[in-house]
């Protein structure tokens, strides 16, 4: 969730300030925040039975149970969901943006990939 990343980045982890009213004077940890951050999780919400789970954002949580609860609190506040999945972001294998041209160059000119050389029967109207 890009609109909260900036806030989370400057938020100390629990026990290192901001945990309660009495600790607001505690300075942020001297070490970089990266080592003390909770892991990032990607959140997938199914809005209706029968539909797919759709990626809707991410959040920080300490463990799977907390991730599920916070996904429910952050992403299904207005009855968007009937089911949520969470997965550790570092468990997702993603394609390299540098491979974009090689992988995803538009294939419109490769006519042989498109099933346009035969007539569909009328019965399969809406394919």
């Amino acid at each position: 969730m890009t609109d909260h990343d900036s806030k989370v980045d400057e938020t100390p982890s629990p026990g290192q300030g901001r945990a309660g009213e009495g600790t607001s004077h505690v300075p942020p940890p001297a070490a970089g925040a990266a080592g003390t951050e909770w892991p990032l999780w990607e959140v997938f919400v199914r809005s209706k039975s029968g539909l797919d789970h759709k990626h809707c954002g991410s959040l920080h949580a300490a463990d799977p149970k907390m991730a599920i609860q916070l996904a429910r609190d952050v992403y299904t506040r207005r009855q968007e969901g009937t089911s949520v999945w969470v997965v550790r972001s570092d468990q997702i294998v993603a394609s390299d943006p540098g491979d974009k041209a090689m992988y995803f160059d538009p294939a419109e000119d490769k006519v042989y990939r498109h099933p346009t050389f035969y007539q569909l029967p009328g019965a399969v109207d809406h394919m």
Binding site: H4, P14, A19, G20, H60, Q69, D73
Partner: protein, 257 residues
Amino acid sequence: MQASIQIDHAPAVQYLLRIGDTCLVHGQRIAQWCGHAPILEEDIALSNMALDLIGQARAVLTRAGELEGRGHDEDQLAFLREERDYRNITLVELPRGDFAFTVLRNVMVATLMKQLWQRLCDSSDAELAAIAGKAVKEARYHQQHAADWVVRLGDGTDESRRRIEAALAELWRFVPEMLESDAVDEAAHASGLGPRWADLKDAWQAEMSTVLQAAKLDAPPEAAFRSTGKQGVHTEHMGFMLAEMQHLQRSFPGGVW
């Protein structure tokens, strides 16, 4: 400045005000975390919980006003009473404290409300039973979410352990008030409006002891002290909270969003 309303003290009205006011004041205190929780995600979780509680308070106060029969609506009951006419348990009016204090109080109250709403689903008052049917689902989640935090803090770092232990020592003396009954409870029990709160004691203790055990915490012994919020006698914190909570309706009577 809008003047205060006078309310009827019939037992059924009192019984509902105890529930509605506990939700209202608890929601107000939790809402004070908005923008201040340790992480953004928990900030939203706490705000959701506060809004659930305010929603429950609205429904119950509306019903209390109907049973009272003086034409008071939810807003008048929420914002135009004197401190002495609020009937919330004392526990919920205490200042929000640190995060450990808040999650421990949340699990204590949610465990009570879960048991209470469960029983109120069978209320002789159909309206209250319907409110309870919706609220019990919310309370179950509040209880689970807060209980998980208590376990994490109790079984976490030295710092979190120190804080949750301090919260337990501070909050436990407010338990007896929640789990004792009086004439108001007896009247509700007799009419079928709802259970005597003392009848929730065994279930509450069983569920809380499961949570405390998982958090490696020991419940302190029962104190001789008895708080009196349900009788309308509050701590010094209540007036300050009400002053803030009532300010807008007192200054701009009938003001709406």
